[in-house]
Structures are given as structure tokens and as C-alpha cells.
Symmetry: C3
Subunit: 285 residues, 3 copies
């Protein structure tokens, strides 16, 4: 990450300081913004930078990759490269550690969503303080159950509090793609905005808040955070996710998806919800 | 229940195994689908069957009675026939026991609502994982306060978490009839669908989920369930309900409703919310 | 307050007993319904009267001042006149004490909102059991962060449970004005109604509930109240609010607003959200 370490050549997350008080973190891992171990390491660096800076008040997460905000994990990477990463300061593995710290950060976090927010993309949205999405170009989903997995970044802990247990279970257990308007109606995102208005809306909101007093922001957020589920729920979800990856159901499911074109640009990524219904077949039916 | 015990002649709940992984439970107690002690016993048998089956992954609750999904309790039955039933495995009386176990079941439960879901019908909806309702033909209500009662199946515990305290109190304290679109807007049900689309929507969702991996379903639901209120709240609600039935206000209220045609097909059942406003009169006003 | 004590000449809150079971509390502190220490004292008297009456079942809060339901605090009053008031029975200072007791009251409370509900007006709305607002004439906001303050009446404790953490943080951290339709879409209020229908709607609902049984109302509400955050969260919010008032950011912010016409009828009050964006400027930007 050039902005943090100044040395790496491969940068999947790019920090831009619009001003000392307003940062952007741009996700840039073309062609489809999957999240592998390297990006998880870079998310750790990002959260460390945000925590140690005294001036930053607002951070916006956006994407430089067309059609993808942040996608599912990198299933071509070695799982050990992820599971061998050291735990973060919360004691959680690095991805849930990042998400937990993002919610606790004395800085306002905003997800600016354009394109697919699948799995990890939904999880970072749920960990941000607010989210605004392109009405035309956003698809959001927790797809994991459809492929035989359990989600690893906390949606079981966060969605019921945000949108109620019934709609949380619909999203998680159906593993369907949701369009932005449905996500807005459910309260999954703050607002769906016309694509042409989205950038200006987020820019105005971010610059507005960045002018407010950091102490007032931090204390208000701290008091809202009493409503957060305990971090241990994120840990339990992560463990269930890793356990699911070791089971035949997920192995068979991911293999079947890959055979249909998953993990590269094309229809299997564009309409993942549909393809999950195609690959699934109960062994007893 | 013929499908469970194979012997009884009177069956108010009918289990249909569409496949080993996808069951239907059809509520069938014409003419108005009231819930008496016998139906409560049959709900216990249903939940026992669901818990002990290794293959079932999805259960849909629907109704065979026109205009009624599941209605209020049977006030012509003897109360002792209900209160003398043994507690279930949770230690709760059988109706809240059934509802608590339904939420904890490692099986996805879906309410397919067409017609009135009054009292118990709303309570089973709130205990299911998801609910989808006919836009034209659904009325949902917690009518109890309007007749001097407290609801016995947990809406005080569940509604505030699902739709917020303000709207929960509006529904409970106004005792009004809600149409499906209002219930959807409040998040009381997952979605209101055009009546002609409802069956196909639920069928597609149920068959989709029934092809997914049971372990992934069960673990995802288990982690979502950390957001459930403790079962003791259901017990407290049940006790308040039984206490309310012993008070003059409820006795007078139910008697006044019966005089207006309550408890049989007709206007008092069709427009129960309206009639609750008619019978009520404060002793001091 | 003439109705309670029968002696005071300056009455900012007026109790009207429509019937023994249905009271109105009318907020009347022209020209802009700010809340100073005297109004806080009168809210204490109101809640005491409601708690000690055996017949009252419904209380509606409304306003006699055009364009304002209940506004921000009185910044021209001496802060010591507020902070020197004795704690209430909950152990909390009188404003959060009133709000906590309102939620626990065995009486149904309804906010009838017409005009601005800024700061304290939003906080009493969140403490009421239900709220109904004029679609055309309502603006609701928690404006505090925008002027360098933390809100003192509990929105950090209540909003996340009511509308989800993301939208709660948007409202609190943006400090923006919300129109009634947006507030309804977020679940911040129960319903936004056409202005010409609002009074009749609330009157019908209040008289309906006032005819129901008080024991059933009180026990239903008691069981819903298990979902309330602990009162200590209101205390923590109040302390953060008082601390914020002692900091330069809030002092500078309030002074800048006053210079623009804040605290008297006019554009700075009408479009407070806009003016908060105008006065704010980060010292580092």
C-alpha cells in the first residue's frame, strides 16, 4: 500500500487523503475485486492508520473496479495463507478484527457502493456506520449458505439488529441477490440513490461531517455503540465459516460454481444468486 | 394427526412431505381456524416430528381454510383443557414451548399467509424464520388488549426487536387490523405479494433452500438466534395472558364480542378491529 | 402549571383532561418552543401527575405554537439553572428522568407532531410509545453534533434499537433536518399523515385506547419494555451532553449560530440543518 508503507508494488487498497479530516479508501483488485489474504493484510494496515491518526473524522470506502464494490473471498488463494495470519488487537482473526475495529473507530465510516457487494462487500457495509448505494448498479448479497458455507464476517451478528430477524434470515438463508431498492426498503443500506447523484451525495455528506467536532462525533458514536453485539459473536461466525470450508458440501459447491465460470468476469459472477440455485442439489432428494 | 400418529380421525394440522427435505404443515380447522387445546397438542406433535427428522430443511406453514391463516384461540373450549396440558421440553406451556422450539429449530420455517392471522396467527408468524403474505387477502393483528387480554404467544417479546418499540406498541395497544401492505412497510412480515404470485414465490424459495446444505443452514440460523429474546419472556407473556383471562374486563369483553357474532363466520370476525372499538367502554368515562 | 399546582402564572405545559382516561399535554412556550429549566421542572410535574393518577390511560403530547412541536434547549438561560435541579426518582437528572419514566409509565403516550421537533422534540418523541406527524409541516432532527454537542436526552440509546445502527448514526452524525416522510420511511416516527388528517387520526386512536382496560394496557407495555436499553445509558448521554457544553467547540458553534439568527423565529431556526453546515469549519482544514 503506497500511502501507508510507501514501498509495496501491489496495492489493493489505496488511501487518499482528500483533507486531513476526510479520507477515502479505494478497493482496487481487478478484474472482480475478490478479497484474498493480501487484501486482508492491507485492511489491517488501513485500520491501524485510521486509529493512529488524530485528524481524520470521516472515511469513505469505494471501489475503482467497474461493477464490483467488494466481492467474495479469493478461492484460488491457499486457505492457509489466510488462516495463518496473526490475530488482531481484538484477539479476533484479521478480517473480523478489522470489522470490529471499524465499528469502534472514533471516525465516521461510509460505504459508497456501486456494483456487487457480495459476501465481504456486504460485511464491510454492515460494519460501516452508514452506506449509500447506486440504485441502478448495486447488487448486495450474503451468498454463503447457497454454496454450503457460513459467512465469516459477522452478518449473523449484525443483520438481525439492523433489519429484524425475519429479513436477516431471508437474506442469509435464501442467499439471493438483492437489488439496491430492496436493500433500502429492508434497511440493509441507508439509502439507494440514482447513480448520477450518488457521488455528489456522499461527497457532500462526508465533507459536512468532516467539518464537525471530532470529540462530539466520537462520543456520540461511542454511545450508539452500546447497541453493538459483542465481538465474540464475530469470532463464532468466523469459526463456523472456517469449519464450513473444510466440509464436502462447500468443497463440492465451490468446485461446481468454478466449472460454471465463477471467479472471473461473466455471467456466473453477475448473476451469482441464480447460479447458486442451479448448482445446489440435495443428496437425499 | 394422520401423518404423525396414523390413528386420529380429527386432524387440524396436516403434514405433507413434498420431499424428504421440504415439508408443509397445513392448518385446517374450519370454518374459521381457531386454535383450541387439540390444535395445541398437534403443534407439539409437529415440532417433535420436525426436531427428530434428519432430512427436513424447510417447513412451510399454510392454511386450507379460506380467509383464515390461523385465528385467535377457541373461547368455547374449556380453559382447563388448555392450562392442564403438560409443559413442553423448554419448561414452557405447550403453545409458547412450540413457538420457542420453532425459532430454535435447525430447519427453515416459512409462514405463507392468506387470510386473517389474528392473535395466534400473528404469533406463529413472528416465530417463523420468514413470512410472505397475500397482498389482497391478508389481515394481521394482535387484538388482545382490545378485548381486555394480554397476548400469550410472545409478541411483546418479539415485535419490538423486529419492527421497533413504537410500531410494536401501536400494533399491540391499538389492537387494530393491519393490511398486508402496512405490515410489510412496518417489517412485521417479510413481503406482501400479489395473491396470484404468492404460492409460486414461496414454492420457489422453499425448494431453493431445501437444496442447500443442512449444516450450513443450521449453523447460520444458530448464530442469528443469539439475537432472540430469552425464552423466559415468552413465559412471562403467557402468565400475563392466563391472568388476564381470569379478570372481569376480558370476561365482559369476550361476552360482548360473542353477542355481536364473534367466533363464527361473519362481520365480527372479518372486521374484528372495528368491533373491538365498538364493545370497549371505560367504566369511568 | 395551573392544572397541577393551580398557582403559577407562567405555564409552558398545559394539561387538559379530555376525560379521566385521556389527557393532553400541550407545549406552549412561544415564539419557538425552546425548552429551558422552567419547562423541565414542569415536565417533572406532568410525569408525577400521570404516575399518581389511577384513571389516565392515554396521554397525547402536542403543541400550541405554530411551526414548532418542541425545540432545542434554551441557550439564553443559565446552564446552572438546569444543572442545579435535583435528580428525579430514577436517580437521573430531571430531563432524562422524565424521559425514562415516560417509557415506563403504565399509560400510553402519543406524540402528535406538527412543526419542528428538534433535539428535545425528537427525544420526547423517542420516549413516547408512538408518534404521528404532519406530513407537510414536520421537521425532525438531532442537530447536536453539528454544533459541537452531544445530545442529552437519549437518542444514542434509543435510535439504534428503533431504526438500526446505520440510520441512527446517519441522523445523529449528519445532524440534518429530516422531513416527515423520510422519518416514516426510517421508522423514526410511526406514521406521517396528511396535515388535515393528523388530528382526527390521533383523536380516534387515543379515544379508542382510552376505552380499553388499563391493566391489559399496562401489562402489555411492561412486557414490551424488556426491550428498552437500561436507564444508565440515558445518564451517560446526559453527562456527555453537559461535558460537550463546556468545550470550546460547542461554545464557538452556538455563538456562530446565534450571530446568524438562531434562537428566534426566522431562517436559522427554519433551516437549522443547512446553517449547521455553514457554521462548521474544521480548525485543521
Amino acid at each position: 500500500m503506497t500511502d501507508v508503507a510507501g514501498t509495496k508494488t501491489s496495492t489493493q487498497l489505496r488511501i487518499t487523503r482528500q483533507s486531513p479530516s476526510y479520507w477515502r479508501v479505494t478497493i482496487d483488485n481487478p478484474p472482480i475485486n475478490v478479497m484474498g489474504p493480501e487484501m486482508v493484510v492491507q485492511f489491517q494496515e488501513v485500520i491501524g492508520a485510521l486509529e493512529s491518526d488524530e485528524d481524520v473524522k470521516v472515511v469513505v470506502f469505494d471501489s475503482a473496479v467497474d461493477d464490483y464494490f467488494l466481492n467474495h473471498s479469493d478461492f484460488l488463494a491457499k486457505l492457509e495463507d489466510l488462516t495463518s495470519l496473526p490475530a488482531g488487537p481484538t484477539g479476533l482473526p484479521p478480517w473480523p478484527d478489522f470489522l470490529a475495529r471499524l465499528t469502534r473507530l472514533p471516525v465516521v465510516s461510509i460505504a459508497l457502493i456501486r456494483g456487487r457487494a457480495t459476501g465481504n462487500g456486504s460485511e464491510i457495509t454492515l460494519a460501516c456506520d452508514m452506506s449509500f448505494a447506486s440504485r441502478e448498479k448495486t447488487i448486495i448479497s450474503q451468498w454463503e449458505v447457497g454454496v454450503g458455507m457460513v459467512a465469516g464476517g459477522g452478518p449473523m451478528a449484525r443483520l438481525p439488529h439492523l433489519i429484524g430477524r425475519s429479513r436477516a434470515l431471508e437474506i442469509l438463508l435464501s442467499s439471493e441477490d438483492l437489488r439496491a431498492e430492496q436493500a433500502e426498503a429492508y434497511g440493509y443500506i441507508n439509502r439507494a440513490l440514482p447513480d448520477v447523484e450518488l457521488d455528489a451525495f456522499v461527497e457532500a455528506l462526508a465533507t459536512r461531517i468532516a467539518k464537525f467536532d471530532k470529540w462530539a462525533i466520537a462520543n456520540t458514536k461511542r454511545l450508539v455503540n452500546t447497541s453493538l453485539p459483542p465481538d465474540v459473536e464475530l469470532g463464532a461466525g468466523w469459526e463456523a465459516c472456517i469449519a464450513s470450508l473444510g466440509r464436502p458440501a462447500a468443497q463440492v459447491g465451490i468446485k461446481a460454481l468454478l466449472a460454471l465460470g465463477f471467479h472471473k468476469p461473466g455471467d456466473a459472477e453477475d448473476r451469482l444468486g441464480y447460479y447458486l440455485g442451479e448448482i445446489a442439489h440435495s443428496p437425499r432428494d
